[in-house]
């Protein structure tokens, strides 16, 4: 049986980390959604340089580890005079990294709407933005939501990497308690439970949403 006192004695510390993990996740989630949408629009744009830039971003970032991305922000940026804290670097890193996956999900969703529909909408007098808003996006969203929700669950889990960069997240404080008490197993067990508190409801909600969309579609 785990030693419950390891959990109760340091509860405040865990909660501090938990709060920061939630904060980093929410900020990175919103940010990655915004960046990802822009990149997705770039990728399907008819302007070639934009398309190239979008593709380069997605292909490059998707194929290197998150650890490396944050590493560049944390240890590399200061060499050009920009020094940001571990929490900020970690959150930006999560944002930039997740955005590449978000962009792909959104692009795939938009592409899934048959081109004929766009043409028909345009032919019937809708503007490009009007076509996007009223015809393409409402359909695309159904296809986009399942992979997107998966990416956001990944994001929450990936936020644990902040601990490596003194980011004051749940993992960081978990390390601290483990280092202090030497109760490695019990400490990380509690950390695991706290992560599950965040991710399990998200997974469940994602599943429900997916089923509902599938039912309607």
């Amino acid at each position: 049986m785990p030693d419950i006192s390891i959990w109760t004695d340091y509860f405040g510390i865990y909660m501090k980390g938990f709060g920061n993990t939630v904060a980093a996740s929410v900020i990175a989630l919103l940010g990655s959604f915004a960046i990802g949408t822009i990149i997705a629009v770039f990728r399907i744009s008819s302007v070639k340089p934009l398309r190239w830039a979008g593709t380069a971003y997605v292909e490059f970032i998707r194929n290197i580890p998150l650890l490396l991305v944050i590493f560049v922000f944390y240890y590399g940026l200061p060499s050009i005079g920009i020094t940001l804290s571990g929490f900020i670097c970690g959150t930006i890193g999560l944002m930039v990294y997740t955005a590449s996956f978000v962009a792909e999900a959104i692009r795939a969703g938009i592409m899934s709407v048959p081109a004929g529909q766009t043409e028909a909408a345009r032919a019937s007098g809708l503007s490009y933005t009007g076509t996007m808003r009223h015809v393409v996006l409402p359909q695309a969203i159904k296809i986009v939501i399942p992979p997107l929700s998966n990416q956001f669950i990944n994001l929450v889990k990936n936020s644990s990497i902040l601990g490596v960069f003194a980011g004051f997240d749940l993992m960081y404080y978990g390390d601290q308690v483990a280092g202090k008490t030497y109760a490695t197993f019990d400490t990380y067990l509690f950390v695991a439970l706290l992560y599950l508190v965040l991710t399990l409801p998200l997974s469940y909600a994602a599943l429900r949403l997916e089923r509902r969309l599938a039912g309607n579609g």
Binding site: F60, N63, I64, P65, L66, L68, Y75, S160, L196, S203
Partner: protein
């Protein structure tokens, strides 16, 4: 920035050694997770009473935890239940278990995407349930699983970098040792590390695309 110093012969060899470890660990973990994940996914698809339920709970638990924690558990907690692994084996087992949970979901949903009617038709033509799954569902499902599986394998290769927390001497770990020599090495070394990861992963994703286009 000191490019010449950063890319000295010894440093490059050291970085490549780390890359070798990254590739080896990723290869073994991919193979393992593929086998484990396929078995688990198929069992879940078949809805075998107790077994599928237990597997489902396990998969959900593992999928919803950060890999960083799972690596810590395989390294520090497994000995408590009598399984003792070195750094490399811990990394491989941790990665394989985590990714197997992901793969099993891919397999399960790939199999579920095959219409049930096909199984029924096969059974009415005299095949047993197992035969129907093996000959009818699995071959079709496998084809649909290729794209998500390959991106999962790319994830795994990237995730090997997290084994840095248990001091696995992989690419990122060795890169850090080189960077520690001089801050001027930081950018050049990170650049070459990025190129190495990118080269392998991009090649993998291109191969997957070709495979996909050929088959479908």
């Amino acid at each position: 920035m000191d490019i010449a110093g950063a890319f000295s012969y010894h440093n490059l060899i050291f970085i490549l050694k780390g890359f070798g470890i990254t590739l080896w660990v990723a290869f073994v973990a991919i193979a393992l997770s593929f086998v484990l994940g396929s078995i688990a996914g198929t069992l879940r698809y078949m809805r075998i009473p107790v077994v599928s339920r237990i597997l489902g709970v396990l998969v959900e638990l593992i999928r919803n935890l950060p890999l960083l924690l799972i690596l810590f558990f395989t390294y520090f907690a497994m000995p408590d239940i009598g399984v003792k692994l070195g750094v490399m084996s811990s990394a491989i087992v941790g990665l394989a278990v985590f990714e197997a949970a992901m793969i099993s979901e891919i397999v399960r949903s790939g199999l579920s995407s095959i219409p049930k009617g096909q199984v029924e038709a096969a059974r009415s033509s005299g095949l047993s349930y197992l035969q129907a799954v093996w000959h009818i569902v699995l071959p079709q499902g496998l084809r649909r699983m290729v794209p998500p599986m390959v991106s999962q394998f790319i994830s795994l290769l990237k995730d090997t970098s997290l084994a840095i927390v248990i001091s696995l001497p992989e690419l990122m770990h060795n890169a850090k040792i080189v960077i520690a020599q001089s801050y001027d090495y930081t950018i050049p070394i990170l650049a070459i590390v990025a190129v190495l990861y990118f080269a392998v992963n991009y090649a993998l994703s291109l191969a997957a695309k070709r495979l996909e286009n050929k088959r479908i």
